[in-house]
């Protein structure tokens, strides 16, 4: 299992499509920085191919006022959880 990290918004960039194309069936995807916009109900459809494997970083949602708006299908983790995801993954790939 690999962890893919995306820091760009699906509203402006196609970076998330590259991450999705590179993901295997067990891989997980973590949204950080402006990427957390992808957790909004209106944008989360971009990630419908990976149900249960989409994460978003709590601190970045919070700073942007988006924590309360994040879709229920997204698993919110704090930075400690981010480290834990990298422990569980055999490798990480960043898409920026």
């Amino acid at each position: 299992m690999k962890l893919h990290i995306v820091n760009r918004s699906p509203a402006s960039y196609r970076v998330h499509e590259q991450a999705l194309a590179a993901m295997g069936p067990e891989d997980r995807l973590l949204l950080i920085e402006d990427g957390v916009q992808g957790g909004l109900p209106q944008l989360v459809r971009h990630f419908e191919a990976i149900p249960g494997r989409l994460y978003a970083l709590r601190e970045d949602l919070e700073a942007r006022g988006l924590l309360g708006r994040c879709d229920a299908s997204v698993q919110v983790v704090d930075v400690d959880g981010f480290v834990q995801l990298t422990e569980e993954a055999e490798h990480t790939l960043s898409w920026y």
């Binding site: 820091n7 920085e33 834990q84 960043s94």
Partner: protein, 130 residues
């Protein structure tokens, strides 16, 4: 586990440097070891010794130095990326016939080979891009 970080975003321009520093602290707090931060692309600007952010903003360069002093984290700056961008230590400045320098210890100028080495030696390499 042994971690390394590859940082490629310019400080203050992108969140990448803040994200990397936050991640570094979190992994240390979980008992891991951080071998090195490798600064590449615009990430090399993190090593600029004269940076003076406003006092109510985090001082990134000081944050990196603290990681080095407290945890022995190596701060490796890609020399090719640095030289083009106006970052050189005393030795490189002398070699290029320039007075003064813009990078100093604990930041060290090194080759891309160090990045390759880190990617082999460490259990995890996490990249923060712009």
């Amino acid at each position: 586990m042994r971690y390394a970080i590859l940082l490629m975003g310019s400080p203050y321009s992108d969140q990448a440097s803040h994200s990397a520093l936050r991640f570094a602290r979190a992994l240390l707090a979980r008992g891991h070891r951080l071998e090195a931060v490798f600064f590449y692309h615009d990430g090399v600007y993190n090593a600029a010794r004269l940076s003076a952010p406003p006092q109510d903003e985090p001082h990134l360069a000081d944050g990196w130095v603290a990681l080095h002093e407290e945890q022995g984290v190596a701060l490796q700056v890609c020399i090719a990326a640095a030289l083009r961008r106006g970052l050189m230590d005393e030795r490189e400045a002398a070699r290029h016939g320039k007075a003064g320098h813009s990078v100093e210890a604990p930041f060290e100028l090194t080759g891309v080979g160090q990045l390759v080495d880190l990617s082999q030696r460490c259990d995890r390499l996490v990249t923060f891009g712009p």
